[in-house]
Structure formats: structure tokens, C-alpha cells
């Protein structure tokens, strides 16, 4: 699963647009990740401010 660094995230929703598993949602509290995440890392590659990180598994 992807990890979101809430201190860096600007809540722009850009990562949501590229996630092929529609695992990301932009809520008023920031980005949430659901179980559909397959750790592909596309969103990590996209994020303009390096707020996303690949998790352990």
C-alpha cells in the first residue's frame, strides 16, 4: 500500500487521476488509499511534491 505524507500533500487530487486501480480518493482530510492499491507506484511518480511513498507490501 501507498503511504501518504500528510505534511507534504497539497490535496490537489492529481494522483487520483493516474491511479489505474482507482484506489485513491481526495477527501477533505487529504488522500486516502483503499485495498485496491497494487503498489504499482504510478502515483508516486506523478506527485508534484513527493508526498507519496511505496509501502512495505
Amino acid at each position: 500500500m501507498i503511504e501518504v505524507d500528510r505534511k507534504k500533500c497539497l490535496r490537489c487530487g492529481g494522483c487520483v487521476s493516474v491511479c489505474p486501480a482507482t484506489a485513491l480518493t481526495l477527501t477533505e482530510h487529504g488522500i486516502t488509499v483503499n485495498d485496491n492499491c497494487n503498489n504499482c507506484g504510478i502515483c508516486v511518480n506523478f506527485c508534484p511534491v513527493e508526498a507519496l511513498k511505496r509501502g512495505e507490501k
Binding site: G13, S17, C19, T25, I42, F46, C47, P48, V49
Partner: protein
């Protein structure tokens, strides 16, 4: 359960464009916007050209203008500047998006649409005679229903995907962007500045859009895999390289994804039309999507109104939207996309070389997808670029 003719999801320019037009056609329209404040925080450089405003069919109003823009300074990688002067009067404005988006929403409400901020569509479900939307607002949850949904939910585009239309952007089609609204900086307050080059902003550009004598949106958009680091690092490097910016203060930090590619052949499904960023309706050269979204929304409402006359909300009927949008906007945007795909394959040396042959007026033409042949002719002077140049013809 409340029933409407149309539920519009998202109240950016695309949602307002759709809602205004649909309400003007006599339809009963609900617009839901999950943000607490329409238009804020912005994900935008706030540039709006005079010609775009005209296409939108919206009246000019001083209240959303921050700065009138008379031209542009475009920089090649080696620093050579091409000055673009618009002879037909001011080219456009840098606006205050927060004020502008609300202005558009007001126009939609004046036409009769019902708008609810801080109301999120959390679930959409297709039933036999339409779509049921679960709405959440301030801790309460209710359902609304309509035979037709217009998804104007911006780049996230979750609504279309929940209803079976895949709008996921490929990484190469979306510009990863960051922007600082800065003040106490030295700028040309009457012109926008654009910087190109594979060092400054690979597969993108850096911009300075003035909002006042000493205030501007300073941003950058880049695309992976060409970009080797994050957009934020590129922006920081850009600002550090300019003493007039480096000393400034930061008033606001924004980021975003701009769908500069991936134009969709199909933007409809049963009971659904997708518009604006959600349907990748953005100018592929400069990333402008305010007017494209609004117009995409307007056109959707026109087809929606026909669908109500025929009482037919099937994708087979709504496909008229694809045809209309491609005729009105898609063709022109596709031409610009092709132009971009050629220009962004040039190395910095080649861009510097090209800048020697171009004048400001040529750039105006190119931005309007004119003069492609002339550009191809120039590129063909270099044997290495002949193959690339042919793509423009």
C-alpha cells in the same frame, strides 16, 4: 428521494457551464460541489485569454481581474527572448479564480440551477431509469436521482470511472505541476513569461503570470518520464536561478495535474456525459482548461436538452456529444497536441536554433494552430529533423 432532470457533479468552470446552459433550456438542475468554497484552493495559473472568454460567451467583469496582460515573453533554453505583442489590444487577464469560479456559479444559479457547496457525491449507482447519487453534507447523507448525470468532477474523474467509463490518465498525458503565488518580486507586470527547455522544465514549461506590480503566480509543469525529479524541485531551482524571484515571499502554494494529452474519443455512457478536466478537455499546448471546461459543459447541456426532448438517455443517443465536441473543440485541440508532440522532441540546442528563425507573431499563429507548414519548413533545414517535421503536415 429528490429527483432532478440533471445532477451535475463538481462546480468548477465545466460544472457551471453545464448547469447554466441546462437551466437556460428549462431543465431542473442540481449542482453539488464537495469543497467548502467554490474555486478555492485554486489549482490554476489563472491565465485567461480574451479569445477564450469570447468563446465561453461570458461577459467581462472587472471584479475577477487581477491584471490586464498585453503580451508575452517567451524564453528559449539559452535565454533568448521572443517578444509576443498582441496588436488587437490586450491579450487577456490574470484573474482571481476564486472570484471567477463563483461568478460562473452565480450565472448558473441566476439561470435557475440549484448549487450546493460542501456536498459530496460519494456513490453513484445506475438503476433502470437513471442514476442514484448518494450525497453527503455536514454529516448528513441523502440520495438524489436523475436520468442524466454530468460528471464535471475535475482531474480526479472518479464519477465516470465508477460508472464504467475509463478516464484514467496515463502518466505521460498529465503535467505534474506546482506553483507559488509570490509577492515582492521583480517582474514585467504587463506580460506573462514562459520558459522552455529540458533543463528548466522537461516536457513542459515554467511560467510567471503577473497578478500585480510585484505579485505573480510562478509555476512549473513537467511530465514523467522525461522529468528526472519532482515538479517542486524544478520550481525551486527555477526560482533560485532568478534573483528577482529568489528574494520574494510566498503567499500560496498550489499543485495539480493538468491533463494535457489523452483526448477522449468517447465521453459518454448510459445516463452520463463527462466534461472538463474529467474528460481531459484541456489545451495541450499551454494547459489552459478554464474555457475548454466551460465550453465542454455547455455543449453537454445542449445534448442533454435534446435527450430530454427525445426521452433517450442511452449512450447511443448521447454519442451526439462526442461528435459535437470533436467538431467544436476536439479537432483544434488535436492539432495543437500534434504540434506539441513535435516541439517537445527537440533538444535544447535545436530549440535555441529554432528560436533564431521565429518571431513573436509566429508564436501567436502557432498557438492558434496556424503556420504549421512554415514551422515544418524551418525544421526541414536540418536533415535530422525531417522525419519529425513531416508529422506537422
Amino acid at each position: 428521494m429528490k429527483e432532478y432532470d440533471i445532477i451535475v457533479i463538481g462546480c468548477g468552470p465545466a460544472g457551471s457551464g453545464a448547469a447554466k446552459t441546462a437551466a437556460e433550456r428549462g431543465l431542473n438542475v442540481l449542482v453539488v460541489e464537495k469543497r467548502a468554497e467554490i474555486g478555492a484552493p485554486k489549482r490554476c495559473g489563472e491565465g485567461l485569454s480574451r479569445s477564450s472568454l469570447k468563446r465561453m460567451g461570458i461577459e467581462f467583469d472587472r471584479k475577477w481581474v487581477r491584471r490586464e496582460i498585453i503580451g508575452a515573453s517567451v524564453y528559449a533554453p539559452n535565454g533568448k527572448m521572443l517578444r509576443v505583442d498582441y496588436k488587437e489590444g490586450p491579450e487577456g487577464w490574470v484573474i482571481e479564480r476564486k472570484v471567477f469560479d463563483k461568478y460562473l456559479a452565480e450565472k448558473a444559479a441566476e439561470a435557475g440551477a440549484k448549487i450546493l457547496a460542501k456536498t459530496e457525491a460519494t456513490e453513484v449507482k445506475r438503476t433502470e431509469n437513471g442514476i442514484t447519487v448518494v450525497l453527503e453534507s455536514q454529516g448528513s447523507k441523502w440520495k438524489a436521482k436523475s436520468p442524466l448525470i454530468i460528471a464535471a468532477d475535475g482531474v480526479e474523474s472518479k464519477i465516470a470511472r465508477a460508472l464504467g467509463l475509463n478516464t484514467t490518465l496515463s502518466l505521460t498525458d498529465v503535467a505534474s505541476s506546482v506553483q507559488f503565488e509570490m509577492t515582492a518580486i521583480d517582474i514585467d507586470p504587463d506580460r506573462i513569461e514562459l520558459y522552455f527547455g529540458n533543463e528548466v522544465a522537461p516536457s513542459g514549461y515554467a511560467w510567471i503570470f503577473p497578478k500585480g506590480e510585484k505579485t505573480a503566480n510562478v509555476g512549473i509543469g513537467v511530465r514523467k518520464p522525461w522529468a528526472k525529479k519532482s515538479a517542486l524541485l524544478y520550481l525551486q531551482d527555477f526560482i533560485q536561478s532568478k534573483p528577482g524571484l529568489k528574494k520574494g515571499s510566498i503567499l500560496e502554494v498550489n499543485s495539480g495535474g493538468v491533463p494535457v494529452g489523452g483526448l477522449l474519443e468517447n465521453m459518454v455512457a448510459d445516463n452520463l456525459i463527462v466534461v472538463g478536466d474529467a474528460a481531459h478537455q484541456v489545451n495541450p499546448i499551454h494547459g489552459g482548461g478554464i474555457s475548454e471546461g466551460f465550453i465542454g459543459g455547455k455543449l453537454a447541456a445542449e445534448i442533454a436538452s435534446q435527450a430530454f426532448e427525445e426521452r433517450d438517455f442511452s449512450s447511443a443517443f448521447l454519442e451526439k456529444y462526442n461528435k459535437l465536441w470533436w467538431e467544436e473543440r476536439g479537432k483544434a485541440l488535436l492539432k495543437l497536441l500534434k504540434l506539441r508532440e513535435v516541439v517537445e522532441r527537440l533538444s535544447d540546442e535545436e530549440l535555441n536554433w529554432l528560436a533564431e528563425y521565429l518571431k513573436g507573431e509566429d508564436l501567436i499563429d502557432l498557438a492558434r494552430s496556424k503556420g504549421l507548414k512554415r514551422l515544418a519548413k524551418i525544421l526541414m533545414k536540418k536533415p535530422k529533423l525531417i522525419k519529425l517535421a513531416k508529422k506537422l503536415l
